[in-house]
């Protein structure tokens, strides 16, 4: 009789994960852009903000993605922008998800007074006009890095996630398998993270995707009004610059399309992964 070992569980999970085409495609696209963000900046000699060559050049062997109105290398901007976009998405989205998940799970499982307090906190943060607060905070800090920006974005983005997870936890905690775990002497914390959270895994991943995308867009907004990183580049900044300098009207597609397409592809890949992961996590959806 085979007593299941945790290692076997993991390998089985991996087996279904690797067999799922949606997951493979999504992961492939994501890894491609991730590698691009890591390696890309080393392949160019130009700094994203220096005036490297003639202005408004279409893509050529010298400037792979062409140049901007000011003669900056678009490829260099794209590679560096991709990097900071990933950082903002990961840190901002990560913090937003983490805070939302912890508060949502605790409020939902504990209920009562803990729920009242956490719910009040959630509602307060939810009704704060996030963008104005971000603008004020950004305006106070003289030197701003991508990291600070991500942390602020993450700390203001969690409330809706917390609310949704709280509601899900409410419905899951009354299920009998939770009672069974309690009768097995499991601690509340373990029940929350080993019984309730796994049931929401695909949902938690969706939350992360939305937080990831939201963080990127929030960052782009801040960048646009001049409150982004004081020195640096991001895809949002590129797009906003392109719009600002009428790249669309002047037919400079090479300035506009790469950042837009990259954001769309990254978020799209995450969505496809989410559907695939749903099948991996929920055995009922699997095609056996």
């Amino acid at each position: 009789m085979a007593q299941e070992r945790p290692k076997e569980v993991r390998s089985e999970f991996l087996y279904f994960a690797l067999r799922n085409r949606k997951l493979r495609v999504g992961l492939g696209i994501l890894v491609f852009f991730l590698l691009f963000a890591i390696i890309g900046p080393f392949l160019t000699e130009y700094d994203p903000n220096t005036y490297a060559g003639p202005s408004a050049q279409p893509p050529s062997s010298e400037f792979w993605f062409g140049t901007t109105t000011f003669g900056q290398d678009v490829y260099s901007q794209f590679a560096h922008g991709l990097r900071s976009t990933f950082i903002v998405g990961l840190i901002g989205g990560g913090i937003g998800t983490l805070v939302g998940v912890v508060i949502g799970l605790l409020a939902g499982y504990r209920g009562g007074m803990v729920d009242e307090i956490l719910n009040m906190l959630t509602n307060i943060v939810l009704i704060i006009p996030t963008l104005s607060v971000l603008i004020i905070i950004a305006a106070y800090l003289a030197v701003r890095g991508i990291l600070t920006e991500s942390v602020f974005i993450g700390l203001t983005a969690w409330p809706w996630a917390a609310r949704a997870i709280r509601a899900q936890t409410f419905s899951l905690r009354t299920r009998e398998f939770v009672d069974l775990a309690r009768m097995s002497g499991r601690s509340s914390l373990r029940i929350v993270f080993t019984e309730i959270a796994p049931n929401m895994m695909s949902y938690l991943f969706l939350v992360f995707i939305l937080q990831f995308g939201g963080a990127i867009l929030n960052a782009a907004t801040l960048d646009f009004i001049g409150l982004g990183p004081t020195r640096g580049m991001s895809l949002g900044l590129m797009m906003n610059n392109a719009v600002l300098w009428a790249a669309l009207q002047l037919g400079m597609w090479w300035w506009l399309i790469p950042p837009g397409a990259a954001i769309a592809a990254i978020v799209g890949a995450l969505y496809v992964m989410n559907v695939g992961l749903d099948e991996v996590f929920n055995p009922k959806l699997r095609e056996m």
Partner: protein, 316 residues
């Protein structure tokens, strides 16, 4: 021995918790060692709440539940775990008792991690095999499967096997066969009876089905709207039901030799809130009730040896 003494459960309902809902009021009974006691009642009678309070899944509003003389509401940490070593429950819906995304035998692994952390693989596997065999399952056929790959009867036996791993003395069986096929029902029922005989297990058998209660138990407790209306030895209760509610229930048991058109029962209950009078006042046949019933709640009185009833007609 498990003993309930004046146990009540009150929920706050309505806007700002302004109203009270008495799910269980002032219930006292005991389950002696090695006996099966049936807790019988309709939906909403509070029978599941009582089971959950015994299992420490729902806190008690007032009264005490004691197990072998120890008040269980004060148990914490290790003491509570020790209590669960002796007292376990099996619920109505075998499908929702399993976390759908894990394999069904994970319930055994949790028991091992929590209660037998130091046990060697071989010893554990032997123990698991014994307890699966005790509930009539073939380990090779049922282990390493997802809940949706097993039948309701198998899942329900799994839950009983899980309880048996712990050398329990007391089992709360909450409607455990109501979701099973008729053919598997009797097997599970007989399994409980066997366990009682072979292990001296005490069982609180919660059901809405009178005939099941008669089949399996020595004592029965009839619950109506959170109050005990009649209790006593199964034989006495079933042969001479005294409370009008019990008699109505007896008359409502479907019988093979009778068409179900002229049942002499009144099932139309008005849902009014009774706070002081008899809980059964609304549905009590007119002839039997008096004005007193509306103002005084009759206490549970002994009418004969091992037979108690809460009805004003039997008060001296």
């Amino acid at each position: 021995m498990l003993k309930l003494d004046g146990v009540s459960k009150v929920y706050r309902v309505g806007t700002f918790g302004g109203k009270e809902l008495h799910a269980v009021s002032n219930v006292s009974f005991e389950v002696p060692d090695g006996e099966v006691v049936s807790l019988i009642g309709e939906s909403g009678s509070g029978k599941t709440t009582i089971g959950r309070m015994i299992l420490r899944l729902t806190p008690i509003t007032s009264g005490t539940i004691s197990f072998n003389g120890v008040d269980i509401s004060t148990l914490q940490g290790e003491a509570l775990k020790d209590y669960y070593r002796q007292v376990q429950g099996v619920f109505q819906d075998p499908f929702s008792s399993y976390n759908p995304i894990f394999k069904a035998d994970r319930i055994f692994r949790i028991v091992r991690e929590e209660f037998f952390p130091g046990m060697k693989d071989q010893e554990w596997n032997g123990k698991l095999e014994d307890s699966l065999k005790a509930v009539g399952l073939n380990p090779a056929h049922v282990l390493n499967k997802f809940p949706h790959q097993l039948s309701g009867g198998q899942l329900q036996r799994f839950l009983i096997a899980r309880a048996l791993l712990l050398d329990i003395q007391f089992l709360v069986a909450d409607e455990i066969i109501s979701m099973l096929d008729a053919s598997t029902r009797i097997d599970v029922l007989n399994l409980l009876a066997d366990l009682k005989e072979s292990r001296g297990l005490s069982i609180l058998f919660i059901t809405h089905d009178l005939s099941l209660g008669y089949y399996i138990s020595e004592h029965a407790v009839i619950l109506y709207r959170g109050c005990v209306v009649e209790m006593g030895s199964t034989d006495r209760l079933y042969n001479t039901p005294l409370h009008p509610y019990t008699r109505m229930l007896m008359a409502a048991v479907p019988r093979l030799d009778k068409k179900w058109e002229k049942v002499e029962v009144e099932l139309r209950g008005k849902q009014s809130q009774i706070t002081t009078g008899c809980v059964y006042y609304d549905r009590c046949p007119e002839a039997e009730r008096s004005a007193d019933c509306l103002t005084h709640r009759p206490p549970l009185v002994q009418v004969e040896d091992d037979h108690f009833v809460a009805c004003s007609r039997y008060m001296e």
